[in-house]
């Protein structure tokens, strides 16, 4: 059989290919600290993936231009190796493995979304690679006992429970009826758990509890039910697409509900894309430009907002801000550790206690940031149709008063 010859030559070609393609980087080359990141540049999370990447890049440029990172008396600059995880957890886990074992990366930045972070965390944990992530909020990430995972954001279950509290408060402390529609993914389902806790705590009642498919394009069935049941609060969470779909269909179907609470409004640029239709939507956010936190690199939220807009041509959603904050945390930890030893850097990260333009950062033993509350903003429009996000809760940061209940469509 001559066929075997063909296959033999094929196999040997393979060997040559493999052996020539081993290119290894070290974590610190010359004056560069190389971080690795798998980001969703394509697929269902691509828009948020880009926000994340822009946030990282913005911070890298800023830190590098302002003197870099000082370790052991030498100045280093940040550099990031990116891969596209295609919004797919399988791919993300593979890429983490690749970044660490092939590219030799010893410090990682997180991907976008809880699901992908969940896929990457076991890998970084196994290799003892410290990962500062800014976009994986699922509570289950912080209950697994991961030692090398640090999240600069508040866990997902805290996103919308405040909204339920607000509704109850407006209802004179009596329980409210809640309709829920959540995408079937790690993050949204965790938001749901938080809302469920809040419902239980306040003696409220859930009347609709729908699970929506990924890549949410249609939630008309849920909205028909909402029209029938007339709940006090409608809670929707499904990343950027979920927010856009909800507003589009609520306005099309003229669904009246006293309170509409959502996530990802700013990432979806709701107020810009849907204008007045998005008015009164209440949104959970990790950050808002009007918050008065400060740091040396970005000064404060307003300055960050202006600088980011100048560089990328759109206002930064919180996904970008928290991503920038992740690099500030890394810089701080490297300098305090004064070493590139992964264990030392890890310990330094665990001891982080700092303020950034994005908020205070201090990690609980599980890795989540416990020093930064969530804020709720409401989309408010003036008569000219210009809409803006204004913080309405918690009261400490509020720049506007909550409009409740939402006027019905016939009155708008």
């Amino acid at each position: 059989m001559k066929l075997s010859k063909i296959i033999l030559s094929f196999v040997s070609a393979l060997v040559i290919l493999f052996s020539t393609s081993v290119v290894s980087f070290a974590k610190v080359v010359g004056d560069k600290i190389i971080l690795g990141a798998a980001i969703s540049l394509t697929g269902k999370y691509s828009s948020n993936g880009v926000h994340t990447q822009n946030g990282y890049n913005m911070a890298v440029d800023r830190i590098n231009s302002m003197g870099g990172v000082k370790v052991g008396g030498k100045t280093y600059k940040f550099d990031i190796i990116y891969y596209d995880d295609e919004s797919n957890p399988k791919r993300a886990a593979q890429l983490a493995e690749r970044l660490i074992s092939q590219d030799g990366v010893e410090f990682m930045l997180g991907p976008y979304s809880s699901g992908l972070t969940k896929a990457i965390a076991p890998v970084t944990e196994k290799y003892g690679v410290p990962m500062v992530e800014a976009n994986g909020a699922s509570r289950s990430l912080f209950t697994k006992g991961y030692k090398y995972l640090f999240a600069v954001l508040a866990p997902a279950n805290l996103y919308l429970d405040v909204a339920i509290d607000l509704a109850v408060e407006k209802n004179n402390g009596k329980g409210v009826t809640v309709a829920m529609a959540f995408e079937q993914d790690a993050f949204s389902q965790d938001v749901r758990l938080g809302v469920l806790d809040a419902i239980k705590r306040t003696g409220s009642k859930k009347v609709i509890d729908d699970k929506l498919p990924k890549e949410l394009n249609d939630m008309a069935a849920t909205l028909v039910k909402v029209k029938q049941m007339k709940p006090d609060v409608l809670v929707v969470s499904g990343h950027t697409k979920g927010a856009l779909t909800a507003i589009r269909q609520i306005s099309e179907m003229k669904v009246d509900v006293p309170m509409l609470a959502m996530t990802h409004c700013d990432a979806a640029k709701l107020s810009k894309q849907h204008g007045k239709n998005s008015q009164y939507a209440l949104c959970a956010s990790q950050w808002h430009k009007t918050l008065t936190y400060k740091d040396d690199f970005f000064k404060d939220g307003m300055t960050y907002d202006a600088d980011f807009t100048k560089e990328f041509g759109y206002a930064p959603p919180y996904q970008a801000a928290e991503s920038s904050a992740a690099l500030l945390v890394f810089k701080d930890a490297f300098e305090r550790a004064d070493s590139f030893d992964q264990k030392k850097v890890r310990d330094a990260l665990a001891a982080t206690n700092m303020q950034t333009f994005y908020g205070n950062i201090k990690f609980a033993p599980g890795g989540q940031n416990v020093d930064k509350p969530m804020v709720l903003f409401q989309v408010m429009c003036d008569d000219g149709g210009k809409c803006e996000n204004k913080v309405v809760a918690p009261t400490k940061w509020a720049s506007a008063k909550l409009i409740h209940p939402i006027p019905s469509w016939s009155e708008r």
């Binding site: 957890p89 279950n157 079937q184 993914d185």
Partner: protein
């Protein structure tokens, strides 16, 4: 025959040595093994039997969930493991991990086989495009259903047990590599021996003319179901391994990933040449290398590059790499060619 033996021993040695020669590529090599298993077993009913199935992803995903569930459920309460808000952390001891994995893999192979039998009984009466479309729905439905089952994590996903602390950091990669490599060897031996029996001829008869095969007294339904069950057995195993390798199971993106794995397994078999023993293996290898290359060098454009590859395959290699080689070098495939006859044929064209 002697040449063949050398080839097999060569590949075996290459397979065993690979993780030590290319330590950085262990994960990619493990995935390659899984891809080859999927392509080879898809070929049983897709290539040999002529029933193009997009539904094998169902068995793969089923195997993945089953293996992980058994591995956890044998030692800990499964519901608490997957419940996202759970405050408890469970850790498998090495013995528990490997025992669980072993039992899990057995379940992951057996249950999908039974499921294939049941589903096959009801839908293998469909032929051609109707069968393909029907199976396309299977994977999609399974993804949506599993995304709603709380005990396996629903939309939250399922984190498979982390690899226990045995030996060095490389042990996880080596374990999964050898697991997938030996499963591949097992698959190859099984498929190869199946292909040397009357069973393969029956499958081919079904592909070439099912009615005639039936008229000759072959119980086609029985063989079609058995063929699909064999595929399901190995797909389930592959899924179980992949679940452990990835470490995180998501209903539509990892387990019932019809959009990627489900299509890739068909593509790999066609690229290599369906209806041949070596075709799917070569196809999977070439495909995997291309894909990894695209990811590295065409960041953001990898799917465009992949699309171009598919177009090129369909236009220039409709019979796959093996088919193309066979046409070019028929002598090497043991075919006796009469030069004069060949020339005459070319002129006729």
């Amino acid at each position: 025959m002697k040449n063949n033996l050398i080839l097999y021993i060569g590949i075996l040695i290459f397979g065993i040595a690979a993780p030590f020669v290319f330590p950085a590529f262990k994960v990619q090599l493990s995935i390659l093994c899984v891809l080859i298993i999927l392509a080879t077993t898809w070929n049983i009913q897709g290539g040999e039997m002529g029933y193009n199935s997009f539904g094998n992803i169902l068995f793969y995903g089923l195997g993945m969930y089953l293996c992980a569930s058994v591995q956890v459920g044998m030692f800990f309460p499964l519901a608490e493991w997957t419940e996202s808000g759970g405050e408890k952390t469970f850790v498998h001891t090495p013995t528990q991990f490997f025992q669980g994995m072993a039992v899990g893999l057995i379940v992951a192979a057996v249950v999908p086989t039974i499921v294939a039998g049941l589903i096959g009984y009801s839908i293998l009466g469909l032929r051609g495009h109707y069968f393909a479309i029907c199976t396309l729905g299977l994977g999609v439905a399974a993804g949506e259903i599993s995304g709603g089952i709380e005990i396996i994590g629903a939309g939250q996903g399922f984190t498979t047990p982390p690899f226990p602390d045995v030996g060095s950091l490389d042990s996880r990669g080596e374990f999964f590599y050898f697991l997938s490599f030996f499963t591949l060897v097992l698959t190859f031996i099984a498929v190869r021996s199946i292909y040397s029996t009357r069973f393969k001829l029956i499958l081919n008869a079904i592909r070439d003319n099912e009615d005639k095969a039936e008229a000759m007294g072959i119980e086609t339904m029985k063989y079609k179901i058995i063929g699909w069950m064999i595929s399901a057995f190995f797909c389930g195993l592959a899924g179980g391994i992949m679940g452990g390798l990835v470490g995180y199971i998501d209903s539509t993106d990892v387990a019932f990933d019809g959009r990627e794995m489900g299509v890739f397994m068909v593509l790999m078999a066609i690229l290599g040449g369906k209806g041949t023993l070596w075709g799917p293996i070569i196809g999977a290898t070439v495909f995997h290398i291309f894909k990894e290359g695209f990811w590295t060098f065409f960041l953001g454009w990898q799917y465009v590059a992949l699309g171009v590859l598919i177009v090129v395959i369909v236009i220039y290699f409709p019979e796959g790499i093996m088919g193309w080689l066979r046409e070019k070098y028929p002598e090497r495939f043991g075919e006796v060619v009469d030069e004069a006859d060949r020339k005459a044929q070319v002129e006729l064209k």
